[in-house]
Amino acid sequence: MKAPLTSFISGIVFALGLGISGMTRPVKVIGFLDFAGSWDPSLAFVMIGAIGVYFVAYRWSRKMASPVLAAEFSVPTRSDLDGRLIIGAAIFGAGWGLGGFCPGPAITSLASGATPVMVFVAAMTIGMYLHKVIIEMSRTWLRSTSTIVEVATDS
């Protein structure tokens, strides 16, 4: 029961951090990405603060046998660079620059009750479903073509 409580409190602290840092305001995000205009480096200070703390915490976690309230650490281990990663990040960045929202601030901003935020989050949800459907379809397609190849080699 303590682990979900940690998640809940962490969520609150994360949202407060986003709000205090100014990252719930698209104008601040777009200001950071506007290198050719009146550049607003605030987002870099957010990253310095967050990465500074997490860098230490991660190194600490490496010395722990397990997390305090869970059986094991679920930390990604992949290190290969593939096209999906780069294309995905490029698509993500385009949407981020266009709207000035990314998932964390957008979900936090739902509390504002503002319609534009709801439009963004609804579209983001559809985007995630769309990705799921496309991945499943391509898997099915790959499976069916490999079956055809097998049939062809059998005969």
Binding site: G49, P67, G88
Partner: protein
């Protein structure tokens, strides 16, 4: 395209007229960043989880047994935090000039598809991954900042439009 006038038009004016760095909020942003880092650190040290918000959100869209409760709790925390901001720091939701719904919908679609395809967003790659010195996350972060900057450059300087 129609302009969504949220509060004031100061944001648009700032692009050309104000001198650079006028909008910098270094101390507030640093403090906010420290809180974000503390939150993500607690998730790692106590629950053993990476705070990747796009992954957490996508996780509750297709739930798996035993790996959903913490995600729901974290997202509920985000919303409760948002309510606290609304009560005590309403300026946090002073969005400035927001693009039209059509543009926001396109932005949301791109963010949704892109975050899943690239396995992460600003929190998972940008904060947690970069701190772990993960090559994938560093490449993803450089890529999404670069592509975001290109889009902002095209919108603000090549087309000079308010979306």
């Amino acid at each position: 395209m129609t302009i969504w006038l949220w509060k004031k038009k100061q944001a648009v004016d700032s692009f050309d007229k104000k001198p650079s760095m006028q909008n910098l909020t270094a101390l507030a942003s640093l403090i906010g960043g420290l809180l974000i880092g503390l939150s993500a650190s607690a998730m790692l040290l106590f629950d053993g989880k990476i705070t990747g918000i796009s992954g957490i959100f996508a996780g509750i869209l297709s739930p798996t047994k035993g790996d959903t409760v913490w995600k729901v709790c974290f997202l509920a925390g985000l919303i409760v935090g948002g309510v606290l901001l609304r009560l005590f720091l309403p300026h946090a939701f002073d969005f400035g000039v927001v693009p039209s719904w059509g543009v926001l919908a396109l932005a949301g679609l791109l963010v949704g598809v892109g975050a899943r395809l690239g396995n992460g967003c600003t929190s998972g790659h940008g904060i947690c991954g970069v701190s772990r010195l993960s090559a994938r996350s560093i490449v993803a972060t450089v890529t999404f900042v670069a592509s975001g900057a290109v889009v902002v450059f095209v919108v603000n300087h090549l087309c000079k439009v308010s979306l």
